[in-house]
Amino acid sequence: MGLSPSTGRKVQRNMTHRKFLRWPVMVGLLLLLVAVLSACTNPQTTFSPKSDTAQSIQTIYLLVIVMASIVMVGVFGVLGFALFRFRDRPGRVASQTHGNTKLEIIWTLLPIAILVIVGAPALIAVAGSAKAPDEDALHINVVGHQWWFEVQYPGMGPEDPNNPGERLPLITANEVHLPVGKQIYVTLESVDVIHSFWIPQLIGKTDMIPGTVNELQTFTPQEVGVFYGQCAEFCGTAHAQMRFRAVVESLGDFNEWAVALQTPPADPVSELAAAGQTLFLAKGCVACHTIYGMPGAAGKVGPDLTLLGDRRTIGAGIVDNTDEALQKWISNPQELKPGTLHMPSFGLLSNENPQHMSDAEIRAVSAFLRGMALE
């Protein structure tokens, strides 16, 4: 760069020094990025994988980020250097070059080389994603509804009365229970519009398309915990509030939950809850909601409410499951989740309407529903 020999050496040493520094700095920045992105304050982060598949996705993700960063630093470096070095100043004459074939060939091959580095592992991963599930994988079928998730465990429910020997699916809603360390195989359906099933810390998303059964890439949860999931494809008014939780638990806890879900509920312990049970039938809730083992409660329009007291959230992952929240929900679901389909605002119906519920009645129904929980 037009330096005298004596200063030239110094510059060279500086440059090797800098080059030596570059890699640790880059790796450091990357680790910082991962640390920030995987902070536990972000329950829906894609950068804190808790399953084997999510882990392998992140490995490729980091590779891609590194390659993109190298290209970015290179392009910005050359750009910045050129802008400074070739800025117009008195006496500067632009060199009248029209092009250079050798350079054109080099910078055609350069991106190809980078793409091979990124593309090869990507395509291998794509090929691997088509692998059939293991024999003993846990099969779950999730059905999208506007705007909630129906979760079915085929063959794990009570015996089918019409088909002795066959077992019905175990059914719940807006909460996917997964045993830790077991491979999970999820199929996806939709009854209305297109939704997308996504648990960022466990698995990338796959769409739920009406008329089709889609398969999610298999994954094995590696850590016990509650993970956030959300619908990722725009599906109408309340799309933003179509969420769910994935509960990863020990096999023992999972089995206990699965058994409880197909055990008729015990009689309500409190008077309030008993009154709530009566109201649940009388006010027509059962036309849309099922509670396993409760005579008359077999509606299929809304989410299955069996063992509701055990769920972390209500309204498809939008609020914590508390007395106050559930009462608010029963009274006026539109307030918590504008656009909610089918469900009346029981607290706002006119007094003449037989379905109207007073605050006391709402408290009773809420107590009944939340009373159904694991011991």
């Binding site: 902070a39 972000n42 329950p43 829906q44 894609t46 950068f47 996705i57 490729i60 993700y61 891609v64 993109a68 290209v71 970015m72 392009v75 910005f76 750009l79 050129a82 802008l83 800025r87 117009d88 632009a94 029209h98 092009g99 250079n100 350079l103 054109e104 055609t108 991106p111 190809i112 793409l115 593309g119 990507a122 395509l123 506007q146 209305d192 519009v193 297109i194 997308s196 960022p200 698995i203 990338g204 998303k205 796959t206 769409d207 398309i209 009406p210 008329g211 089709t212 889609n214 398969e215 956030y228 990722a232 494809e233 725009f234 599906c235 109408g236 008014t237 933003a240 504008p338 656009g339």
Partner: protein, 620 residues
């Protein structure tokens, strides 16, 4: 022919409202496109700011979910079809004849027709706001959310018909410019001597011709579903709703290149002027543009990696998508090669061009990330994608178009834009843009999905969103600086002269603004940079142009009512279909009335002479 009576007499006045409504002058049509696009940019910007305010913190209640869904649907649709596309159209209308040494486009009345169709399509779609039912299903309008069952409101109808009308505008313009560029080039202006912007216009015209029929078919099927009750996208009747996605993206991906290629052309023409050297690797830049356009038709399914197409399809489309990085990289490297060794003058158009190159590079790199299917399953439909395409379409297209406005405004208006305000405009936009959109990569990686009007406080997205909202206000400030600059310049800007930048292409050889006939004498072009040739600092055409009789010897086509009337007729056919849904007899009346009007206008158009015989001396 003497039967024209009263108000039907052909308008001849060069000024006044009627002269604009009936103009067939490509420069005026270009300005009409540009002004309309800026107004729509303002509207889409307001929509964006309202969305940013709504998202500034968790559980905000500034707007309802219905309104929010309308806002992002209309923001996307408007920015794509009614801002960036027409801004590109403004440039190619205004500049192509000037750059190729022609007096107008091949079909001046068709050109006017394109603009009016565009305007009426825009008005038709925005009329939905008047009925409080703007479309709310996203600009991508995935079936079956668009069916009557799930979207009973008329928003989808406005959207479908508005796009159909806009599509006619685009197709007409595309054919016009293909013919113009192929046939009307000045002597000596071989294809490989054309300014890169002319090349890119030629390429996007072909893209439009091949891509728009696909969306037209997709929309027509949807129209049948909604008006007649067919089941093209109805899963319950056995159809596959993915059909829509395939059709939409077969159009939609080339559409991305329709949006970015004009900016690439603009930047390729601006860089030589401010580096004082020719574009590095001109043939490579041109062929890269052509190959991007070709490949653009083979990658549509990378928008659908999460739809369960299977490993084979995902692999093939992933591979094809990565290939596009090669010609794109070639372009970026050649721009760097152009800067290298230059004498770079940091004028506002160059600053915006640098902004374009750097921001587009970032957008391209995140694009390669999405091509990696496993990574895409984590990024698809999150804010990471929103960041990506804003880096391409805002950091790319809009920065390039802004560069073009600063560069050619003096030619169009005869006055310079202020450099100081221009630089303020650039830095505000550059900083505001990065404040708004860079954090979207991060919040997307933290799992924030797109198209959500609210999110929970427990997600930890609050502070990042507040930061982005502040950034969006900085962008608003930059837009205000731009408006101030334009208004000041029009009132009291410095006179530009013919060639204020010392540029090399022939549009700078004529006066600013150019006379209505452009070139008194068609110039002969001897190289890619004719005005930089020895003894060609002033175009031959120019020397004659100034001391002449104001161009009376040049015959230009007279203005015409019929493009306006025909496009009003066609647009109201669409309007009639909307009315028909609400009141069948009224709708039928409107459809038949305006259908007849359109037919009549077509007839009159077909038999209209270039010049009114009794207006000027007989033509030849």
């Amino acid at each position: 022919m003497a039967a024209y009576a009263g108000f039907l007499k052909r308008p001849v006045s060069p000024t006044g409202v009627w002269s604009w409504l009936t103009t067939v002058d490509h420069k005026r049509i270009g300005l009409l496109y540009g002004v309309t696009a800026l107004i729509m940019f303002f509207i889409a910007g307001i929509e964006a700011v309202i969305m940013r305010l709504q998202l500034s913190s968790s559980e905000q209640t500034l707007v309802s979910p219905e309104i929010y869904n309308q806002l992002f649907t209309m923001h996307g649709t408007t920015m794509v079809f009614m801002v960036i596309m027409p801004m590109g159209a403004a440039f190619f209308n205004y500049l192509i004849p000037l750059m190729i040494g022609a007096r107008d486009v091949a079909f001046p009345r068709l050109n006017a027709f394109s603009f009016w169709m565009f305007l009426f399509g825009t008005l038709l779609m925005h009329a939905s706001f008047l009925t409080m039912s703007a479309p709310a299903m996203g600009w991508f309008a995935y079936a079956p959310l668009t069916s009557l069952e799930f979207s009973p409101a008329s928003g989808v109808d406005y959207w479908v018909l508005g796009l159909q009308v806009l599509g006619i505008a685009s197709m007409a313009a595309a054919f016009n410019f293909v013919v113009t560029i192929i046939n009307l080039r000045a002597p000596g202006l071989t294809l490989m001597r054309m300014p890169v912007f002319v090349w890119m216009t030629l390429i996007i015209s072909f893209l439009l011709i091949f891509a728009f029929p696909v969306i037209t078919i997709a929309l027509t099927l949807l129209q049948f579903d909604r008006w007649v009750g067919t089941h093209f996208y109805n899963a319950a009747a056995g159809a596959d709703p993915l059909l829509w996605q395939h059709l939409f993206w077969v159009f939609g991906h080339p559409e991305v290149y329709i949006l970015i290629l004009p900016a690439m052309g603009i930047v390729s023409d601006i860089l030589p002027t401010f580096t004082r050297k020719p574009l590095f690797g001109y043939p490579a830049v041109v062929f890269a543009g052509v190959s991007i356009a070709f490949m653009g038709f083979g990658v549509w399914s990378h928008h659908m990696f999460t739809t369960g197409m299977g490993a084979w399809a995902n692999g093939v489309f992933s591979f094809a998508t990565m290939l596009i990085a090669i010609p794109t990289g070639i372009k970026v490297f050649n721009w760097l090669g152009t800067l290298w060794g230059g004498a770079i003058q940091f004028k506002t158009p160059l600053l915006f061009s640098i902004g374009f190159i750097s921001m587009f590079t970032l957008g391209g790199l995140s694009g390669v990330m999405h091509a990696v299917v496993p990574v895409d399953t984590q990024q698809q439909d999150t804010y990471f994608i929103v960041a990506h395409f804003h880096y391409v379409l805002f950091g790319g297209s809009l920065f390039g178009l802004m560069a073009g406005i600063y560069y050619w405004f003096p030619k169009m208006s005869g006055r310079m834009l202020n450099e100081g305000i221009g630089k303020l405009n650039f830095w505000l936009m550059f900083i505001g843009f990065n404040m708004t959109f860079f954090p979207m990569h991060i919040v997307g990686a933290l799992g924030m999905p797109r198209r959500i009007y609210t999110y929970g406080a427990d997600q930890g997205w609050d502070s990042i969103n507040m930061f982005m909202t502040i950034g969006s206000l900085v962008i608003v400030a930059s837009f205000l600086a731009f408006m101030v600059n334009v208004i000041r310049s029009l009132q009291s800007g410095e006179r530009a002269g013919d060639n204020p930048w010392g540029a090399a292409t022939i549009e700078w050889s004529i006066s600013s603004p150019p006379p209505h006939y452009n070139f008194l004498e068609i110039p002969t072009v001897t190289s890619r940079y004719p005005l930089w040739e020895e003894g060609h600092s002033k175009g031959a055409a120019q020397i004659h142009g100034h001391d002449d009789d104001d161009g009376h010897a040049v015959h230009m086509p007279d203005p015409s009512y019929w493009p306006l009337v025909l496009s009003a007729g066609i647009a109201m056919l669409a309007g009639g279909l909307l009315i028909w849904k609400w009141h069948q007899i009224l709708g039928f009346t409107v459809i038949s009335t305006f259908g007849l009007l359109a037919l009549y206008a077509t007839y009159r158009w077909a038999f209209e002479p270039v010049n009114e015989p009794n207006h000027e001396e007989p033509h030849q």
